[in-house]
Symmetry: C2
């Protein structure tokens, strides 16, 4: 037997064992229900991951609602794109933007709080609608950080949502009670960031 | 002055200081160029974040190429969605899928290697095309893990790409040399995952 053939055989044996382990795990996971996802941490990808799942959900014919709790700017590529998708496939995605920027931009905490509470009322309606397969609450964690919303009624609305509905919450510093209630939690951990090396936030990548 | 007014004034003073710091950082980051992004780690959101940036880039009128180096399944929502987008907006996105599944599924390492090398040849063409604003190399890291590709020629192609082109590489265990070459790196760190609690990979959320 050649050396290469031996290496390949060993690889294939390892992969057979791996396949058995993976197949067993897949067989063990058979519950079908809506999943509560949280994307938190200081790294990139929290919101963009949610916007990628929006594409995925629409691809499966699901209806999606996105509520952005913090409006960073008025000309994001994702908003423009999905508003066009909504014209092209009516009812596929409803896109809402609340507020007027990060709170250090507006410098008016009572106006921020009122905007966040209005956005939450909108979110509650979607969280009560079994026709909506995915609800994205983008930058929602700031509503707790700045005290605009209490966690308890939010947890109650999430727990009472339609059983097959998925929810994705994004933002830094997710409250512990929200993490405890979630099914899937990822901490987007910053390893490095182009911005710190002097690169501007680039259109089509960062916004 | 009421207690509430005092609290609000303190909040606003804090936010004014924060705005000054943020504004200064934004003023310092003025370089405009293509960014090399890596989404790695064991948590969720590596690929979906890239697919969200695809939406963002198309929203800004950029042309996008996606090369998936590992085909997990043939019926993903993201592929279906973006193929429909490509029909609707011709030229907006080119979607390619290589291979036939994770290597423990195919159990044939030489066929996997050949598929990965063919996908890389395709990727190289996009990495030489200044008309393409964003190239996504999805699950690309496995090509190095399994020895299908060498890192050196990949680094050379990335370094020689058009200066305004963004590239996103996803997958677990990104090689150190790739991380060193990247501008923005995020480790999607697993905090918890519904799958481990017995929930099936759900359509519209996980695929």
């Amino acid at each position: 037997m050649s050396e290469e053939q031996g290496r390949e055989d060993r690889h294939n044996t390892r992969m057979q064992r791996k396949k058995a382990v993976v197949d067993e795990k897949i067989a063990a996971a058979q519950v079908e229900r809506g999943v509560l996802v949280i994307n938190t941490g200081n790294g990139k990808g929290k919101s963009s991951s949610a916007f990628g799942v929006v594409a995925r959900a629409i691809g499966h014919g699901m209806k999606v609602a996105v509520i952005q709790f913090v409006k960073g700017r008025s000309d994001t590529g994702e908003e423009d794109f999905y508003r066009r998708v909504a014209e092209w496939m009516p009812g596929s995605v409803s896109w809402h933007v609340s507020g007027e920027g990060f709170t250090w931009e507006t410098q008016d905490s009572s106006r921020d709080a009122a905007a966040a509470r209005a956005a939450w009322e909108l979110a509650r309606n979607y969280l009560a609608d079994p026709g909506i397969g995915l609800v994205v609450l983008d930058e929602f964690t700031y509503a707790f950080k700045y005290g605009w919303l209490d966690v308890a009624p939010v947890l109650a609305a999430l727990a009472g949502r339609p059983p097959m509905q998925h929810v994705i919450i994004t933002g830094r510093g997710a409250p512990e009670a929200l993490i405890a209630a979630a099914d899937t939690v990822t901490d987007m951990t910053l390893i490095k960031h182009a911005f710190k090396a002097g690169v501007k936030a680039m259109p089509g990548l960062e916004w």
